[in-house]
Subunit: 388 residues, 3 copies
């Protein structure tokens, strides 16, 4: 098995009239049959943009196959998203998935996040959430995400109940359902931030809970606050969201981060997304020149969004992992071709997919991005507990 | 080995003159010799009620045999309980075991708990414990209990130091005594909430500590705050404690919860307790009709207190566990025979011993019961730190 | 292999002119060749005292060999310590190692710690750190140290983000560098208290962080706040630091605690330190009479500083551990020879190297010592966040 690579650019054309169904846009660059896509594990994408004033947005879901390097678009579901009427404030009850946001809600959240940035910089900070209790109910540990939420709550004067071993609640031995756990914990707190190992768990929790639920990641499902902070960072760093070019690099197949980000970007006008990913295939005669690809993309984009190749998904094929891992490195050479205003982003943690030398460059935005997670989470806590 | 079942009703007759020794009351229903009791693993009980004005209550202890389905009453010890003099407020120094409470103290605590309910419902809550620090010293994890205590402390404006790996303090490798740990932690906090794997650990801690200790469960020993919240819930739900009928269902042999609850109920007048438990015995010719038993009891009682069959106690005999587990299920059929004012309680977590359909019924009191744990713990923290 | 024992007294002569290089002072008592020292695993020491007004202190480092019972002094490095100019306040940016303190800084910190003692005793305590967030980033659990820091922060009105599983940040699977973790966590907090398994980790963190770092122990390296609280305790208990006699007893070879303490004591005038340690050697004809040694030392010293023999360092030679462990016990007999004003100290946890009977004696200072850790940490948090 050899490693080749591919990248696809998906043109996202905003239109006032949203299509009822979605098609997979494949750039001519790809130039392959659909069959080939299925065999080669290419990353495909489908988007649409939502009209600003559409009361009911058409939302899509991606279906992911079991294989580690395929995301395919089929059997798209059409749902009704929370609507926004001018002159009426949003009602934000829970934060469950990226699909619940449209660009108006995003814009409103980003304004609050911007206010939070000022609050956090001023001593002694805000006490607007004084008397409120947030429970962090983590069924799997994620210290980074947990600390970010807990910091957000405390920066606003709120208090926190922490558990990183929430599995104990529902251990095989004891066998309590998630629903029972939520009904108990909601008696102790005012809002629950929840991380779970099963896709859909946050939605189940929100269905039963009388208090707001924030999804801090549910297995291979959603991690909506990451997607929000990513989009917020792009707006802050690039200065706009319409008309931008974004390269998504790395382990795209597994990336709930990448999927949710792409989904939200699709809400904006004329966003162009480039996927640059190692392509582990058993095909002869197909060789992609990788480095030039990343270089070419990097030189054109406003954002190079690098991600970590997730070793755990390769099982015993560590040889493939090692090959994939070294494919696309953001280093000084990449910086050299990038535009002056462009930025490098990464959801962190990183391994060596961005070299340490890049850290010194002002275009290295990933630590600012992590910090923006604090502001977004402060904003969400404020909005869910106090309203707009 | 087959599973049969049995239930016993123990009549608790209040009397002004407390007996110096206690006898096991066996209802005629049982109709068996004492020998049979010992062989069959029946659940027996012994009670007395304490006169309201008795300065020294006579307290009893149960002895539990090694076998998993027997609780027998013998070698009762007589102790001196904290006295209550009219016109003088109680001095509550520690919360170690159910035996330390009489009905006057219970009544006083319940009044404070009721106040706490109002505090918790009002934004922004109370700050009466501002500046106080509670250490949760858990030698074994119990997220539910811990969160309840920590929420209670924070709802009153207090602060919390958390540890769920307190065993590290006294690990085999390091070998620190509990006494040394307490002497260290009391230097960092104003009150210690402690869960331990050994019976008697809380009492040892209280003996050495200069600050209040609350026992949040010590192994097979006591879990007094659970007993308090159970009795508080009954009073809130049924409206009285004297003259009530309570069915205790499920894993009674192992139940420190059930033992402590029964002990406290015995403080009230004319309380009648029914034990309904699967009975794992090797006896021929003795067959109890289970479902009709639970039905009969449920139709008469004010409270049906269901408990979880604890799998871990069955060792390799999972067949027995499976049989015991299915014996007594509280479901719609049970609800149908229950009186309108009666309630279903459960210490949680539950498995399937109460079916989900019951949740919808207003008589399902178990989540309200869990919430009452918050009020009881707020009350105890207030009383121990600030006094009456 | 037999166990013998030895003790050495090192005379610390203060001088205004600090020597550029240091020599190992060996008391005549030792009466052995240097070769013997290397073979027998004796504990050697080297000290100097620093002149009060020396702007640049000469600092020394100890090198520890791989063997468990040797500390040898060679290849001493000379560094420049933070200077203190009269009329100018210290700038305390981080707390990384004992070497960064001189007696003027120590004196100033101890004054603040003394103030903290008053704050902690008064209800409702201070709110001077209200609005500040401390992150406890523990790569290995140390509940005792963590609780002490968290209590210190909360006693001053500050808030805490806790993690005891910080290794997850940098797990082999994810592979994040310490530097990246610090850059993320500093976005969420105002100060980081860090415990790490690698020597030098705190220094690396401080080099990258924009907020203060406190080293709460980095592997076999430093644990500077322990050393500070030890010296503070001696001053509080004995009333002075110049001219005192201190016996360091027990597992000196492994003792970063002991090394750091000895280092700080060397800042004072005419301090005399006695090492009393089990000596596991394979030598014939050399027999040291232990009990009389400890007795003799104990009768002369102001402080008997006992430490725990660390079992884990003996590997499979548990026989040696058992022998070493029983060598020097501080018990009533030792108390009987100690002077009236002298005290027994211990960094805790203790096993049986101090018998429980000693606890009752007013000269047992170890629990007061633990409490002093709170005041020292309160002082450091105040100084690092608010300045002098």
């Amino acid at each position: 098995m050899a490693i080749s690579s591919s990248f696809f650019a998906c043109s996202l054309q905003g239109s006032m009239a949203a299509p009822k169904t979605l098609n997979c846009y494949k750039e001519l660059l790809c130039n392959r049959s659909n069959l080939f896509f299925k065999q080669s594990g290419c990353i495909e994408s489908m988007y649409q943009s939502h009209s600003r004033l559409l009361p009911h947005s058409v939302l899509s879901k991606w279906e992911q196959t079991d294989q580690f390097d395929r995301i395919q678009c089929h059997s798209l579901e059409v749902e009704t998203a929370p609507s926004f009427s001018i002159g009426k404030k949003f009602q934000l009850d829970d934060v469950i998935e990226a699909q619940q946001f449209n660009r108006d809600i995003l814009g409103a959240i980003f304004e609050v996040a911007n206010d939070m940035e000022k609050i956090e910089n001023n001593y002694p900070g805000s006490q607007i959430l004084k008397g409120y209790l947030m429970a962090t109910l983590f069924y799997e540990p994620s210290t980074r995400t947990r600390l970010s939420f807990e910091s957000a709550m405390k920066r606003l004067g709120g208090e926190v109940l922490t558990t990183e071993n929430a599995r104990e609640f529902s251990s095989a031995a004891k066998g309590e359902t998630l629903e029972d756990t939520i009904r108990t914990v909601e008696g102790y707190s005012d809002i629950i931030v929840m991380r779970h190992f099963e896709s859909g768990a946050a939605r189940r929790a929100a269905a039963i809970a009388g208090i707001p639920i924030i999804n801090a990641g549910d297995g291979p499902g959603q991690h909506p606050t990451q997607a929000l902070l990513d989009v917020y960072t792009i707006e802050r760093e690039v200065g706009k969201l319409d008309g931008i070019k974004v390269a998504l690099v790395g382990d795209l197949a597994n990336g709930r981060t990448v999927r949710s980000l792409a989904y939200l970007l699709a809400k904006y006008q004329d966003v162009r997304i480039y996927f640059v990913a190692p392509d582990v295939v058993k095909m002869k005669g197909v060789e992609w020149e990788e480095s030039s690809d990343l270089m070419e993309v990097a030189s054109e984009c406003d954002v190079v969004y690098q991600t970590r190749i997730q070793k755990e998904r390769f099982g015993e094929r560590l040889d493939l992992y090692e090959e994939a891992r070294g494919k696309y490195i953001v280093d000084q050479a990449v910086l050299d071709v990038m535009q002056k205003h462009a930025v490098v982003m990464h959801p962190l943690p990183r391994l060596d997919e961005i070299t340490v030398e890049v850290d010194r460059d002002p275009r290295a935005a990933y630590f600012r991005q992590a910090k923006n997670g604090l502001y977004i989470r402060m904003a969400l806590l404020k909005l869910l507990l106090l309203g707009w």
